[in-house]
């Protein structure tokens, strides 16, 4: 139950920072950038109070590098950024994927490309989140649509990073990051906190990248806890040493993908409403999810059998779930604050069974519900 002691009136960025702290985040490295900076500011104030560490690095690249270094030394680490900063972070993000370093990276999306619209909202980075760093990698990416969800998904992101020993992304946006709403805070004792699996063998028997066959994830030592091991961005064998041996290369690459793939059911999340028998389905995420839900409810009041489907994990995309729930829909609408990105993923999973139509807005504003209602009425 919410009483005054566990309720806060926060903006999304503040809630996200507090969720991270509750999840055990004890290191933040970053660089100021609008509209994400409040996350760094909260962490700068709160981390030392808890014995944690905050460092403002010289640039976005260094912010990313510092949190990877801290995580290798045993930290639960976080960085937050926005468009141009997210681009700069891609290089070292790749190192965290291949070296299997748990970290959480937040991108509070603004309009792009380039400097674009620093103070305006957008959803133009959803494919960059999936494919931004070079090379194959399995992406786990959350999309909050409320301040409460910023808080809750920050906790979840840390747990998933620790469980799968890899980066987890949170793709917020300027509207969600800056709006203020009620948050019901959680009790640390009452939430599940996951910590990375640690090696149990003696240091001389430690094979740093030998995966637990049940999970595909290798237990991780920290620098300074008695083990001596090698971390590299090169493709390695189980010893963590660079390899050019084709079977070893393939083993590593497939394991990186499979450790996430095999647990897809534990990761994928979505919210839906009125999907049963829906003729028009609206698929929306992040801040647009709010406009879309209102639009679906308004359309139903007008007698249109509309349904609502909101992916909470953008990656892995809840495609099988959408395809099943939207079966029989005449039209699937995908409103998003870009020129058409997630609509491609929806088309891919729907495979022509329904008409899929993008609804795009790239003027820096959020959809008004009536704008989506109008399109629902047109296609119904």
């Amino acid at each position: 139950m919410a009483d005054a002691s566990n309720v806060a009136f926060w903006q999304g960025n503040t809630a996200l920072a507090h969720g991270a702290l509750l999840a055990g985040c004890n290191f933040y490295g970053g660089y100021p950038i609008t509209p994400s900076t409040e996350i760094a500011e909260v962490m700068a104030e709160e981390l030392p109070r808890r014995g944690g560490k905050f460092i403002q690095m010289e640039d976005e690249i260094a912010g990313m590098a510092s949190i990877i270094g801290a995580s290798i030394a045993g930290a639960k680490s976080l960085t937050a950024t926005s468009g141009p900063g997210f681009s700069l972070k891609q290089e070292n993000l790749g190192l965290a994927y291949i070296a299997e370093v748990p970290i959480v990276v937040v991108n509070v999306m603004r309009g792009g490309p380039s400097t674009g619209l620093p103070t305006k909202t957008a959803q133009q980075d959803v494919m960059q989140a999936r494919w931004g760093t070079h090379g194959d990698h399995a992406t786990i990416c959350y999309s909050p649509s409320s301040v409460q969800e910023c808080y809750d998904l920050a906790i979840k992101a840390f747990n998933m990073a620790e469980r799968f020993r890899q980066p987890v992304l949170i793709l917020s946006d300027e509207v969600v990051g800056h709006m203020r709403e009620k948050v019901v805070k959680k009790d640390a004792a009452a939430i599940e906190i996951l910590n990375r699996a640690r090696p149990t063998v003696k240091p001389e028997k430690f094979t740093p990248y030998e995966a637990d066959p049940r999970t595909g994830v290798p237990p991780m030592a920290s620098f300074g806890d008695g083990y001596s091991w090698h971390v590299t961005g090169l493709t390695t064998n189980d010893w963590g040493f660079p390899t050019n041996n084709p079977p070893e290369i393939e083993k590593k690459m497939l394991r990186l993908m499979n450790k996430v793939d095999r647990a897809r059911g534990d990761i994928v999340e979505y919210e839906s409403e009125s999907m049963s028998g829906a003729n028009v389905v609206v698929v929306a995420y992040g801040s647009v999810g709010r406009s879309a839900l209102r639009a679906v409810r308004d359309a139903r009041k007008k007698g249109i059998p509309a349904g609502f489907f909101r992916p909470i994990t953008l990656w892995p995309f809840p495609g099988e779930e959408l395809a099943k729930d939207a079966l029989g829909a005449k039209v699937i609408l995908v409103p998003e604050l870009n020129c058409g990105q997630m609509v491609l993923e929806v088309e891919r999973v729907i495979r022509g069974r329904s008409e899929v139509r993008g609804v795009n807005l790239v003027n820096g504003e959020l959809f008004k519900p009536q704008e989506i209602v109008k399109v629902i009425e047109e296609v119904a």
Partner: protein, 272 residues
């Protein structure tokens, strides 16, 4: 052959190493290991980070906690490591390109913070691994694959850069004086702050071959002849110092160290 104690700091299963026969990097690695032994460092609490390039492959060969990171960024990684666990001895090895080109920003800010990390810059005046392209320390007029008509970009003096940016220990020597390299590394690690030890080495394969220092010994002899101790250099004119390598300890001063300062931040925050 190195002695058994030195051997215990090497990951021999990782070898053969990638360095060309006669490369100076091995001399530097030996100096680093001897310094670690002299300081009685233990492997599980020693971190050696590196970036990308021939020099940075050293991280794989040293039996400690090692991080072979991304090009130029290693100081940002090791800053995260040291910041989170200040008990660790952190050494960061890098080449001239790593340090002064792609990693220049990280380098000056690590100097500015005076974080207790020892940076060992293996300066061979060229991008060796990629085949001999000009670096920010390639001398004006020298040949490089990306400067086939001779380099026109003035070179960086890495020690002056480090001093100007605020490092609390700055020294330079060459691979022709491995004992001095060892003692500068010892002093750098002992210094409670950011230390820069530039060790001038050679890439006879990519630089020497095209710049009249084809054999490893040509380079070794050049370093011996060109080295000028700092005390002597102070008596020489700029003209006399042209083409020389000034060796010695340029900076050795006590300054507030970053992780110590942050410890005070934590105390202040916890007092409320």
């Amino acid at each position: 052959m190195p002695n058994n104690e030195v051997l215990s700091w090497l990951r021999t299963r990782f070898m053969p190493h990638i360095w060309c026969p006669g490369c100076g990097h091995g001399i530097i690695m030996h100096s680093i290991i001897r310094a670690l032994i002299a300081l009685k460092k233990d492997k599980p609490n020693t971190v050696l980070a590196s970036g990308i390039g021939c020099s940075s492959r050293m991280a794989g060969y040293i039996n400690a906690n090692t991080l072979h990171s991304t090009h130029g960024r290693s100081l940002a990684f090791s800053t995260g490591i040291k910041m989170f666990n200040p008990e660790l001895t952190v050494i960061d090895v890098m080449g001239d390109g790593d340090c002064s080109a792609i990693g220049g920003n990280h380098f000056i800010h690590a100097c500015r913070r005076n974080i207790d990390i020892t940076a060992i810059v293996m300066n061979n005046n060229i991008y060796g691994m990629t085949g001999g392209q000009a670096s920010p320390t390639t001398p004006v007029g020298a040949w490089a694959t990306t400067a086939p008509w001779g380099v026109v970009d003035p070179a960086f003096d890495i020690c002056k850069l480090a001093e100007g940016a605020g490092a609390s220990y700055v020294a330079r020597t060459t691979i022709a004086n491995p004992k001095q390299a060892e003692s500068f590394i010892v002093n750098g690690i002992k210094n409670k702050g950011f230390s820069v030890v530039e060790i001038v080495t050679h890439c006879h394969t990519q630089f020497g071959r095209k710049n009249n220092r084809r054999a490893p010994m040509d380079n070794y002899n050049f370093f011996k002849e060109a080295s000028v101790p700092l005390t002597k250099a102070k008596t020489m004119t700029g003209e006399e110092l042209a083409g020389k390598i000034v060796v010695g300890e340029f900076v050795d001063k006590s300054m507030p160290e970053y992780t110590e300062q942050y410890k005070k931040v934590i105390e202040k925050a916890q007092r409320g």
